[in-house]
Symmetry: C2
Subunit: 185 residues, 2 copies
């Protein structure tokens, strides 16, 4: 599978790949085991600290792993990983080792114990910042404490879920920079 040569990426700029709304692969680590889940419900919440909010159904094996370890990695896959992302969503970490089953490479993270997925375009190391919405909404507020992304391409071809088994693949860029007020960029 394709891999990417990554550099440190500023955590206050992680919106570039996350704000357009791609599905992501969330990796976790707890009691000696890793896991991966596919996630589509998330939003950027703040630049600095770099916050991301996301919904993880409590039936997911990953839910307890992230809640207990208070850490995870948000990995951003490109279109080449579409079938892998669906496969990860179809299976449970209770039954299989997803890194092994899907031929993915676990790379050591710098600030969390959860592994980075090497085959994903970007990797955001996260720590649980606020759990007050966990009980009612299964909503995690995470702080991105370290980010990794390639210098190019500037914009990866990401996958965006439309429901009913259909994804949208990210399309053309439309640069309207000339129209923006500097403070709104």
């Amino acid at each position: 599978m394709k891999t990417f040569k990554k550099k440190d990426f500023p955590v206050d700029q992680i919106r570039r790949f996350l704000e357009p709304g791609p599905i992501v692969l969330v990796s976790s680590f707890w009691k000696g085991k890793t896991n991966i889940m596919t996630m589509g419900w998330h939003t950027v919440m703040e630049f600095s600290p770099s916050l991301v909010g996301c919904m993880i159904t409590s039936e997911n094996h990953s839910f307890e792993m992230i809640r207990r370890s208070k850490e995870c990695v948000i990995n951003i896959p490109t279109v080449e990983l579409a079938e892998v992302a669906v496969g990860i969503g179809n299976t449970s970490g209770r039954e299989i080792d997803k890194f092994e089953h899907f031929g993915l490479t676990a790379v050591k993270a710098q600030k969390v114990k959860a592994p980075l997925i090497q085959e994903c375009f970007a990797n955001y190391e996260c720590k649980l910042a606020d759990s007050r919405l966990l009980r009612k909404y299964n909503f995690f507020i995470l702080e991105v404490v370290k980010a990794h992304a390639p210098a190019s391409p500037k914009y990866p071809q990401t996958l965006h879920y439309r429901g009913q088994g259909v994804f949208m693949v990210s399309g053309e860029s439309l640069n309207l920079r000339r129209m923006f007020k500097p403070q709104n960029l």
Copy 2:
């Protein structure tokens, strides 16, 4: 400007247009005045009740209008409205009437006082469902109580913000329905 012939749309299916992560136009109404803002930080949170979480900076004129009225409409624009969306983000409802200034048509909603924007592809009438994250994160949890969308096209060409004045326009569909477990669709 282009308009759409809309039908009632099931509130538990509003993810179809929102989950891929488009920027949206949020309309509001308070004390006899309407307003519109451009928003990019939001996520679906639940199917039923149909919940959407979103971040609105408290400096925005819309913030207090939505907080006080406890209502708004999430309007989903297509690529034709790109320059209008930027213009709306560049201006303040404290100074101008955005419907008038941008030539948009305010249509009466059914369940909220905030108006629908006729020129947008879909309109989701929302009531404030939970304000506990307002003070710390400016994060509104909204319930979609009524939705309007055309029967076709099934997938509109939406705008997704990448930062620095650059949008991504939604691209091709990738149908992997055959790979999904029925309960995951």
